[in-house]
Amino acid sequence: MQRGIRAAALLTSVSLALAGCAGGDEGTGEGGDDGQVTLRFAWWGVDSRHAMTEEMIDLFEEQNPDITVETEPGTWDAYWDALATKAATGEMPDVVQTVDPYVLEYGRNGQLADLTQFGDVLDLSPYGEAILTDSSEDGKVWGVPGGLTTYSVWTNPDVVEEAGLEMPDDDTWSWEDYAELTTEVPEAVPDAVGSGQMSFYAEPFTLFARQHGEQLWSDDGGLGFSKETLVEWWEYVADLTESGGMLSPERSIEENTHDGDAFARGEMAFKPGWATQLGQVGALNDEVDLQLLRMPGEDGAEARGDWVKPSMHYSIAESSEHKEAAARLIDFIVNSPEAGAILGADRGLPPNPEVLAEIQGDLGVADQKAAAYLAERLAEPENPRPLPPEGASEINAIFLRLSQEVLYGNLSPDAAADQLIAETEAAIG
């Protein structure tokens, strides 16, 4: 059984011995003699985020002369494979930016440190249980939220008005209302689009299922929704796409993987998206008083559909030799207003209410709207979400692929639902 694996290990070590350089100092083992510690910190993002983060780190190093931080900025599409490769060799950076459900996957596999062990050094008291849901299990906390966000409908009131429509009341609008409104937009304004594509991500469906009293995952680690709900969802989306209310699959794919967003160009009325990312549409914010509306169907639903979640987390590698220093760095990032002032809402709104209050006045117009919207959502009673099981991250790719099959008419919603359930169950098996 294990012999083969041992043989592989042996082979590797033989190779190393042949190379004459086995054994080793990895260069990160700074001696503790002078108390100087070097941390490695990895995150993903674009150049603007890298610049902000480097600035924040300079400030941290200034205040903590005993710690040097080596930065490892990366891009999203290459982040998780590089991190896994490092984890495989016990070479994970000390502090890593993570996201659900990877944070659970790494935590469950013993790669991340339990953050409750640091007491005052890393203050977790500002974060309620609900906020830590995505990153904790069995009393262990593997990640501190680096930002909060929630799902919403970005709305361009100018397009709504141009189509001769009333702005909807998002406290009461139903899915039928949404379908009617979005279908009327292109009928009135031929160049405009009613709604962004809703079915390329699992979140809108998750919200829909929760409104039906279901969940994406069940408490015992299986699927938490019924086939009927999924079929209903795909039928809704397919009908809306067919009637012209929702962006066609072709254009949605282009916008998904490439640039040139119809909403950012001011040609789309409604686009479901994360509230805190409204700022990404850029210049449009200066021209139009964009609104954040609630997703439809909350009124009269069996349970609350939307939820507030961390947009990402900060975690500490279990393999780190300087966990305490790493905890100090994370505490600085999430709990100090100075760091908050530099980072702004780039990674989502600061989850620490004190930090948020401190910097709110300095946020850009879109982020201020997001903050107000998020405050309303946080004030409402929670509908807690069961944790995703191992292998859960595969559902996003499966969902995207089968949604496209449905929208291109290759599969009926019914057949696609069967397939999604079978594939997902195999993945989490």
């Binding site: 190779s15 494979d81 984890a87 996957e105 790669q111 640039d259 040139g260 790719a397 692929r401 291109y408």
Partner: protein, 316 residues
Amino acid sequence: MAVVEEFRHLRDARGTRGPRRRRTDAERKEERAAWSFLFPWFVGMVLITLGPMIASLVLSFTDYNLLREPSWVGVENYERMLGDARLHKSLGVTFTYVLVGVPLQLATALFLAMVLNRGLKGLAFYRSVYYLPSLLGGSVAIAVLWKQLFGVNGLINQVLGFFGVTGPGWISNPETALGTLVLLHVWTFGSSMVIFLAGLRQIPDMYYEASAIDGAGRWRQFRSITIPLLTPVIFFNLVLQIINAFQSFTQAFVVSGGTGGPVDSTLFYTLYLYQRGFTDYQMGYASAMAWLLLLIIGAFTAINFLVSKYWVHYDD
């Protein structure tokens, strides 16, 4: 083709030097010299290629998520490949890409190599310009350039619109997406073109002169001189391009944003392998997939060598 010759040569070498015969001093000296020349290559082969290769073979019999120690599962990964519909789909995509893309690319490369062979001023510049697309290769910029050409509102559709035709979103339609990647492959014909140019250079002018005296036209010269004499080079390009095309990854990764979509229509085998290994963290399964790919490429290369006897012409 030298490879075939090489194999013939190697076989003969084995035949003439039976294991029983005592080797002479000169032979032993040559053997020692050979090893001194080969030493760096051999070290690299063992350490950097063979070691990891065997490690991946072993991993292919394990369940390994990179985060935990691997655990032995026997042939489970290989059994799973039999029933994996996406794997079969990715094989279909890859075969289509190889069987359509490689011949088209080689034909384009050959045609342009003949045009750019000789007789015009400024050929160096033209060649460099025609090589430019290959320099861009798998750059991130390709994604947006390809959308600019093949998007719903891309250049192709604007031209079609001029003639009153409404084109689809070429890169986002499952029917046509793979076709745009084949075109991308054809577009980066530079390296093959360079090798063809070299091959054309080798054909002695006297052949053409002789046939011109016999009154042969350009087309007949092409068919009866250029092509036959070029078959060794065509073969060389074919072998290497097939190997390369089976391993194509970056183009599909960049253009589809890593998904292989829409609906897996551009799911290259290596892209699926990458998704399994590095997105889903199933390195055991990914390793098994790699070994299947190695077998497939090996089989194609072997068939290529076998068939080459019937169409590749050698001078000697």
